[in-house]
């Protein structure tokens, strides 16, 4: 009996710890939602739940044209970044995972090295390149710069996933006369589709959240992405920040991501842990 009650206490302690962690993880977002639902007179109330719910902040965010534009910009940039890095890395991961040739390891190690570069260390070089290509203040400038972030980890994760496909499948296709390009598109692509969804999602999230390049390579309200508009959102002075609006915008920006994470949590975890890139 004593043993049993001891176990019960341990289990209870375990679940209390879980609740505590969940509380710490969720409370800031919960508080943002609560604040966004308050009108300006009750904004500074510190009741833990909203007493009078109003959607005025959301209405105002939606009626703000620049916010809509930046939302659209973010979607386009993040989708293009994810698709482009997937295309480039799928091709490259095929020989990296399945072939033996000189320079393969060096290639993978170089990609790994790119992940360790501080982003300010490419900032002025990229700025010059973007000016030269005449794409400053354009979405393509952001997509170009995001490749530094997404390509290395997409490459590593896809290579790791592709390494695990049994060799027999590939050999069977080659024996049937398939070219290597056909093997990649018709055989590997379907097998890899869960992995592709995962890595694509990770690239999407990375691009959606990026700030430094977005801040630097865009100039006008119309071409900004959401994080930049949110960062530059300000009132007349530091003390007059429109907190209700900022919180409403924050919730709107985060909601799609949280939905994705709740739906795909298992895949995201497997994607993040599959890349040997993190050790």
């Amino acid at each position: 009996m004593i043993w049993k009650s001891k176990k019960f206490i341990k289990e209870t302690a375990f679940y209390i710890l879980c609740l505590l962690i969940a509380f710490v993880c969720l409370f800031p977002f919960y508080w943002a939602i609560v604040s966004s639902l308050r009108d300006s007179s009750s904004l500074f109330s510190t009741d833990l739940w909203p007493t009078k719910v109003t959607f005025d902040n959301y209405k105002e965010v939606f009626s703000d044209i620049t916010f809509g534009a930046s939302f659209l910009n973010s979607v386009v940039v993040a989708v293009c970044t994810a698709l482009l890095s997937l295309a480039v890395c799928l091709m490259a991961s095929y020989p990296l995972a399945r072939a033996k040739f000189k320079g393969k390891k060096r290639f993978l190690m170089t990609a790994l090295g790119v992940t360790t570069i501080p982003h300010v260390a490419v900032l002025s070089g990229l700025f010059e390149l973007i000016r030269f290509l005449d794409i400053y203040n354009e979405k393509s400038a952001l997509i170009l710069s995001y490749m530094i972030i997404t390509v290395p980890f997409t490459l590593w994760t896809l290579t790791n996933f592709m390494r695990n496909i049994p060799k027999e499948i590939e050999e069977a296709a080659i024996m049937d006369g398939a070219s290597r390009f056909t093997v990649l598109t018709k055989v590997f692509l379907p097998i890899l589709s869960p992995a592709i969804v995962t890595t694509g999602l990770l690239a999407f999230i990375a691009a959606w959240n990026e700030f430094l390049f977005a801040l630097t390579f865009t100039l006008t309200n119309q071409s900004r992405t959401v994080p930049v508009s949110l960062a530059l959102f300000s009132g007349a002075s530091q003390h007059e920040l429109p907190w209700g609006l900022i919180m409403a915008a924050s919730v709107l920006v985060t909601l799609p991501l949280i939905l994705l994470v709740v739906i795909f949590q298992r895949r995201i975890v497997s994607g993040l842990t599959a890349g040997a890139i993190k050790g």
Binding site: I117, V122, R163, W208, P227, Q238, G279
Partner: protein
């Protein structure tokens, strides 16, 4: 009727000796890395030795190490170096400890694990700028919920200026950074736990050895390589911190990190030469860590083949 040609068959089998084709497949990726990372990196380093400005990137003259000498003489730079290292040195160990606790929880099979996994991922998913804004609101000195709760709980009497005060705002930056990146750390460590032989977790259950003992004498020693790699990786990330500092230090010089300092000179003061030189110094600071990180991973790559 087709005749079976053994020789032809052998030829068609994948030997993967076709080096040319391999490099065709690699070419787009290689070009992307060269254009987006390699070239800009080289250009930034070389800008550091010139007097380039934002409006004039072309007709620039070589000024030797003048920029670097000026940086070494700038008090603000050394403050930025100190801030950067304080943030990294305090937040990475905290993230490792919390990350390990969460990883051990997620590794256990219990009811609601899926939910726990999703919840833990949320701080990592939220865009850094949003986290910074949310926390800035919670830590607001006059209206923030945190001061309010602390006062209500009678822990403090006066509201604490979490963000307005320079020394405290470093603390706030560390707090938000730990909150935001612990989930990622937890996942890295979880991956390590999953690759351990699973019977080392059973020792606790079967032989009723206290979990503390199992953790100290079995799990942690086996996890050491994973923990080291994860910590190096996170340190590399922490040293280049930009977003959080940009929002939470509200633009003052006192709390700038090396990334914020460099960007400010390149774009706010238009001094591309000086700012690039500062970025180059940051690059050299992390180079040692990068080499360490890559060599750890190379060992791992060898084991796999």
């Amino acid at each position: 009727m087709k005749i079976f040609h053994p020789q032809k068959f052998r030829k068609r089998q994948i030997s993967h000796s076709d080096i040319f084709l391999n490099w065709i497949f690699l070419l787009p990726c290689l070009l992307t890395l060269l254009i987006c990372a390699g070239w800009p990196l080289i250009r930034t380093i070389s800008f550091g030795f010139t007097d380039a400005t934002l409006d004039n990137l072309k007709n620039i003259s070589f000024v030797g190490v003048d920029n670097f000498i000026a940086i070494a003489r700038d008090q603000d730079w050394w403050k930025a170096v100190l801030n950067t290292f304080v943030i990294a040195i305090v937040s990475v160990p905290l993230e490792t400890v919390f990350g390990m606790i969460i990883a051990l929880i997620l590794h256990r099979n219990f009811k609601g694990r899926g939910w726990m996994r999703a919840i833990v991922l949320i701080p990592w998913t939220i865009p850094t700028i949003v986290s910074a804004r949310m926390w800035a609101w919670m830590l607001n000195d006059s209206y923030g919920i945190i001061n309010d709760l602390l006062i209500r709980a009678a822990i403090i009497k006066e509201p604490i200026p979490w963000i307005a005060s320079n020394s405290l705002s470093i603390l706030s930056i560390i707090l938000v950074d730990v909150w935001k990146t612990t989930p990622y750390m937890a996942l890295l460590l979880l991956a390590g736990l999953q690759s351990l032989p699973q019977d080392c977790f059973e020792a606790t259950e079967v032989d009723s050895i206290p979990f503390r003992t199992t953790l100290k004498s079995i799990i942690l020693p086996l996890m050491k390589p994973t923990i080291i790699v994860a910590m190096i990786f996170r340190t590399l990330d922490a040293v280049r911190i930009f977003d959080l500092v940009y929002i939470l230090s509200s633009g003052n010089n006192e709390n700038a990190t090396m990334s914020v300092y460099s960007r400010r000179f390149i774009f706010d003061y238009a001094d591309v030469g000086y700012g690039s030189a500062a970025a180059t110094v940051l690059l050299f600071f992390v180079a040692f860590l990068s080499v360490l990180y890559i060599s750890f991973n190379r060992k791992k790559l060898k084991e796999m083949d």
